[in-house]
Symmetry: C2
Subunit: 453 residues, 2 copies
């Protein structure tokens, strides 16, 4: 399959280089939007615009939604208002709202007004969705759902159901059941509905009190709910329990994947915006703060070392093992914090287990610290014939492994309790802290144990 893809891309590339945009559009007409999006990511802005104009509006709209990066802003700023409205008009409400977010804020009211004249209902729904923060359940949900009043017979849903196109149908898993005030009271899986006697009332067939999420809920929590409860669809309600939208499993999966990328990038001291970014300056700007933070931390480390100048001068062998001490502390800290943070992100914690996890981390750190420390005593004796320096390094490693475990496990837990995203505590931040602490311990022990030679 990958070979076929590369061939397709190569053919598209050849046509594009020859300026044959219509031929590319024909070549891609039957392909899945995600596949075309992958091609788009390698194109220049003008090529993207030309291709968006050449593709059918529904397909072009889906492709832009798949891409969902800064490149879209350039494309949308070049297109005419009418062209943008046509794209929006072909998208489900949740995707349309995501696309509007890429439109220049100054042009937004103008385009929404134009959409209002083309399709009033769409414009009203879109404006509602735009009110919710992007990373909330409200920002993720779509307005397209089926609902029936509890006292209606289920046959009332059939006309709406029959009108749906195949693609819409595949994202409709359930029919929601509401009361007279549009408050959610239950749901009926559509397959169950179609297999039931058409004359029965909705409230007789429904599953009462289904799982719901609130418009203000965090999108990551909602996605984890899909993961743990194997959901296909989730109704979203407002403050008074009224049904306002629904989220489907494909959107939840996208959120999980985005969040995993974001956590990874943040742990590495950067940001996931990088993935869709092509400007050297912007990538550089995403990474520099962490590098500079690291630099400042390591200047403190240099200051600590300069304080022990005499000891280093006296026994320059101590300097040889500075990288070993800081690297072991750094590695231990990252091992501990990565596991701790993943548990926190996955919500695999309850009150009693946080204590157990901490206790376990500490026993692991004692075992590993003792093993590594003992190894270094032997190595130093064999290599340099120095038993006293070996003991200093061995003791330091034990202490450093223990302290790095303390920062690596306790800091994320504390941040989480304080309501701060624990992923900020990793990567450069934990490493730098451990470096400074490790060097203080190392030269402190050396100062205390070694007599001047």
């Amino acid at each position: 399959m990958e070979q076929q893809l590369e061939q397709l891309y190569a053919r598209a590339r050849t046509h594009l280089d020859a300026g044959e945009v219509a031929a590319v559009a024909e070549l891609l007409a039957e392909e899945h939007p995600s596949l075309i999006a992958d091609l788009f990511r390698s194109l220049e802005a003008e090529e993207r615009v030309a291709l968006v104009r050449a593709l059918d509006a529904p397909l072009a709209a889906s492709v832009l939604c798949e891409i969902d990066d800064r490149g879209n802003e350039e494309v949308l700023s070049v297109l005419e208002d009418g062209e943008v409205v046509e794209l929006l008009d072909h998208l489900p409400s949740d995707d349309a709202a995501d696309l509007v977010a890429h439109i220049d804020p100054e042009a937004r009211p103008r385009i929404l007004d134009l959409l209002d004249r083309v399709d009033h209902q769409d414009a009203v729904e879109l404006k509602e969705l735009l009110r919710y923060p992007e990373d909330s359940a409200g920002g993720l949900m779509a307005k397209e759902y089926l609902s029936v009043r509890e006292d209606q017979s289920i046959s009332a849903v059939l006309p709406a159901l029959r009108q749906l196109e195949d693609e819409e149908l595949s994202s409709m898993q359930v029919c929601f059941v509401v009361d007279r005030d549009h408050r959610l009271v239950g749901q009926i899986p559509l397959l169950r509905l179609l297999l039931s006697d058409r004359g029965r009332k909705a409230h007789e067939v429904m599953e009462a009190d289904p799982l719901v999420a609130h418009v203000d809920d965090d999108q990551e929590e909602v996605a984890n709910l899909f993961l743990s409860q194997d959901l296909l669809s989730l109704p979203i309600v407002d403050h008074s329990g009224r049904l306002v939208g629904r989220i489907t499993v494909d959107d939840a999966m996208d959120v999980l994947s985005e969040e995993a990328t974001e956590d990874l990038a943040r742990m590495a001291g950067s940001s996931a915006v990088e993935l869709g970014e092509t400007s050297t300056w912007r990538i550089s700007r995403a990474r520099l703060p962490w590098l500079v933070l690291g630099l400042c931390g390591e200047l403190i480390a240099a200051f600590v070392l300069s304080h022990f100048e005499r000891n280093l001068q006296d026994r320059v062998i101590l300097a040889f093992f500075i990288p070993l001490i800081v690297a072991t502390g750094g590695n231990t800290g990252i091992q501990t914090s990565a596991i701790m943070i993943r548990r926190l992100v996955m919500r695999e914690f309850d009150t009693f287990r946080a204590g157990r996890a901490l206790a376990r981390e500490f026993s692991v750190s004692l075992v590993n610290g003792a093993l590594l420390g003992a190894t270094m005593v032997v190595v130093l004796y064999v290599w340099q014939g120095q038993i006293d320096v070996g003991i200093v390094i061995g003791l330091t490693l034990m202490t450093v492994v223990f302290l790095a475990t303390l920062t690596g496990s306790a800091v994320p837990l504390l941040l989480d309790r304080m309501g701060i995203d624990p992923t900020v505590a990793t990567g450069p931040f934990i490493t730098t802290t451990n470096d400074v602490i490790g060097l203080l311990v190392y030269l402190g022990i050396a100062h205390w144990l070694l007599t001047p030679s």
Copy 2:
């Protein structure tokens, strides 16, 4: 919701401590398996066994599947063969196969024989699934699917469909269409099927040539297919194109989540087995290899430094900035490799873009290296009044940032091309390599530029 959970767990805990297992079972009878699984993870082995026996068999079976960790092995080894068979008999085939994997290999044939006598069909399907590697599409798929021959009318599916219970129904999205040799030729979304005229032939209504996966395909590739194509269900075929099973979106989502955890853990120099692990020794064993690898690498670093003993003795100030040099190289390497690897894992790469990404990484490294280097020249002059040492450190930082980018981006790409999982290239491995290279550069430049004071 989290508060309610904690209350529930606290009540369960109180009952358990009083030895009232039946009361706990009653308390949990209506809860979702994933929620009970979360409670199980904090229990001792004997408590788990008692609770498995007290819960209804279908619920207990689902709970064990949710847990899916080493704790299950202990539980299954304590249960009678007949009890294990009853659990297996209540599970869908894919979950049953996962559970069998936790049974002691010696007991497995005995239990499968017993299951064969209770439910021959189940046992045959289970034995088939057990033949596939756990991380392949075959190992992930289930045998429960609906199919119809292309020349049959779609009403032929209705009796089977009506027999399904609610839970089974919710995981059936499509009816597969096969030819006389059971080769897959198409699929019909069940909602479309129920809305169509019952007398029509399957081949008239079906979507021809649907996306398929092969039994041998890697589970991560399959899961990425669900993510990129917004699938709910995917048919699995064997070498001759015959339909042998199906994978549903909830299983794909579990794979994505597991793989994200595994990638993160591996980048941190550990393994995701940790998350379900409670033994200090086993966690210690998962982490030690990376710590020891790091230690060996840093011993090489110590060896490099010892080679420059004279230079360090002469200008001990050089030792102060060792942590700064290695940390900056390490941070840059991790920033670069994390982003590169995430792109590779997400398959967001094609041939032309790998080159562009590399070029971008290098321009970012030149910008960041130059900025950091220039900063250090100024800092050194202000702090220590030494312009020559400042220039050494500045030049070193520029070189180190560039080289760390080279290893951080090229090594994962190379490994991926060679068919090796690129995540092994990160964490301790990249950091240690960068440390050794960085120190060689640092003291090499110092040796070359600084005259003995």
